[in-house]
């Protein structure tokens, strides 16, 4: 049984070739939580997400998703537990148009958003329905990448820097989408460099340094621990 724990990493190690990137990551996320992974560049945040998804081949330790030990599973099997992954590079397929991109990921669970709900959240996508995937702006690509996994019924979203390089008005729109995601009771693990954005949407923040979790700061303690957090992030 998973006791409401959606993700539990214990002593998770990860390697690119011979070099070890993750040196024993421990973290846990409960159902309905929005949790951010913060840390400097190269701390291993994106690698942690890739390890959770099984995209990082060489990994050791324990990664339990909804109670199931997935450390030896291939990515497609892990995803079928109900994870929606939005990679840092967004991964919009250039040879598919917007609608094809949107409809590509198979349904994983019942209860995904309908196309109308998605278009209500991201009106731009309706206007661009027949555009090629490579014709979109960065903001539209990000909206499409998020919209794509909302349709599948995934109840655990893994988002890698959803606001990176986007104009403030688009960041605000992504924020609204995250509010809607929270209202639906989905669980989210977010990597985010934009700390103001992270502070607004997240319940808790895990701080990563050199491939390990070094601190955990709940929303209620952010104000008090701001100086410490800034030291971690080097701002």
């Amino acid at each position: 049984m998973n006791d409401g724990v959606v993700l539990a990493l214990a002593a998770l190690e990860g390697f690119y070739g011979e070099s070890q990137i993750l040196h024993g990551v421990d973290l846990a996320i409960g159902r309905g939580e929005i949790v951010t992974l913060v840390g400097r560049n190269g701390a291993g945040k994106t690698t942690t997400l890739r390890a959770i998804m099984g995209i990082l081949r060489r990994r050791r330790g324990s990664a339990r998703v909804m109670g199931a030990e997935t450390i030896a599973w291939p990515p497609e099997k892990i995803a079928r537990l109900g994870i929606g992954y939005v990679p840092e590079e967004r991964g919009i397929f250039a040879s598919l148009n917007v609608t094809e991109n949107l409809l590509l990921p198979p349904r994983l669970k019942p209860g995904g958003m309908s196309l109308d709900e998605i278009y209500a959240l991201f009106p731009n996508l309706r206007e661009r329905a027949t555009s090629g995937g490579s014709r979109l702006s960065g903001g539209e690509q990000q909206m499409l990448a998020i919209a794509r996994v909302l349709r599948t019924g995934a109840d655990f979203l893994v988002l890698d820097e959803p606001t990176e390089g986007l104009a403030p008005v688009i960041v605000a729109q992504i924020g609204v989408a995250l509010d809607a995601i929270r209202q639906r009771g989905l669980t989210v693990l977010l990597v985010e460099q934009n700390f103001r954005f992270a502070a607004r949407v997240s319940d808790r923040h895990y701080v990563m340094e050199t491939g390990k979790i070094v601190d955990m700061i709940p929303r209620s303690e952010i104000e008090a621990k701001m100086t410490r957090l800034e030291a971690y992030l080097g701002v």
Binding site: M53, P74, E76, Y85, G91, L103, L104, P105, P106
Partner: protein, 289 residues
């Protein structure tokens, strides 16, 4: 020159073009998804023709069932080869795939030369298609008309499956970013195996269609695959539409040159390949990678 001869050569060109199109189609699918330049495609074409011949002579199974059974057998053999041999070199450069499949091609061809010699075996026309019609300006053998219609239907069906269906969208997406497609919960390794099986089954099907026209000969794959590679280079490696259009039109061009300047007919396709490589290296329908 008579109009009869002109249309005769055009029909021959269209037939050859149909085979170019079907074979390069399989090559494009396999290259797109696996990154393997599959020289062995020629051997699978030969295997399809032999499967039909073996079915007929050893099991009394005729042309129409063979049209289903032979490609099925070729597809299964292809899947076994993909799983056991080709899978091991995906992470290497394209050149290794080309060399490996060249080896597989030579071994398969060598085995059939050893078993059946190079004289060629004849395969009869299926009964209902053995005659022909005079359609005014030329005599049209029924079987040749059938081959053109069947291969056009196969090409269109394949194009439709890849460009217009959900499975095809998976294939196109996996061609671009297999890792992400897996992270959506799709079993890409299985998809890759299926695409390889489908791609070589297409060659096997072309082999069955070819059996009554050309003789069933262990060298038939080697003879056609060189031309098919030129077709694929001209159309653009990996382009589905490019394979079909280029295959058919180069067959016609080859046929026309046989009418007007026969001496050039064996090199016209390769001359075009050289020009295309110089002007648009990605091919007429290809995109730069």
């Amino acid at each position: 020159m008579s109009l009869n001869a002109l249309f005769g050569q055009l029909l021959l060109g269209l037939i050859n073009g149909s085979f170019y199109a079907m074979l390069s189609l399989g090559l494009s699918i396999i290259f797109g998804l696996l990154g393997i330049v599959n020289i062995a495609q020629g051997a699978f074409y030969m295997l399809g023709a032999f499967a039909a011949w073996i079915l007929l002579h050893h099991f009394g199974v005729g042309y129409w069932p063979a049209l289903i059974l032979a490609p099925l057998a070729v597809g299964i053999i292809g899947i076994v080869i993909e799983r056991t041999i080709i899978r091991r070199i995906y992470q290497l450069d394209h050149l290794y795939g080309l060399l490996l499949t060249l080896g597989i091609f030579q071994v398969m061809q060598g085995l059939f030369v050893y078993w059946y010699g190079t004289a060629g075996l004849s395969y009869p026309y299926p009964g209902v298609l053995s005659s022909g019609h005079n359609i005014g300006f030329m005599y049209l053998p029924n079987y040749r008309a059938w081959v053109v219609v069947a291969s056009l239907a196969i090409c269109f069906g394949t194009w439709y499956a890849i460009e217009r269906t959900r499975l095809g969208a998976y294939l196109r997406a996996a061609t671009e970013n297999p890792t992400l497609v897996r992270a959506f919960g799709i079993n890409v390794p299985l998809l890759v195996t299926a695409a390889f099986g489908g791609g070589v089954a297409l060659a096997g099907l072309a082999g069955v269609l070819a059996a009554p026209i050309y003789q069933v000969n262990p060298l038939m794959g080697g003879n056609i695959i060189i031309t098919v590679f030129a077709v694929v280079v001209i159309g653009g490696l990996g382009s589905i539409l490019g394979s079909i259009v280029t295959g058919l039109s180069l067959g016609l061009i080859e046929g026309l040159s046989k009418v007007f300047y026969p001496e050039a007919s064996s090199m016209v396709i390769f001359a075009m390949m050289i020009v295309v490589l110089m002007v648009k290296p990605a091919g007429l329908f290809g995109t730069e990678r």
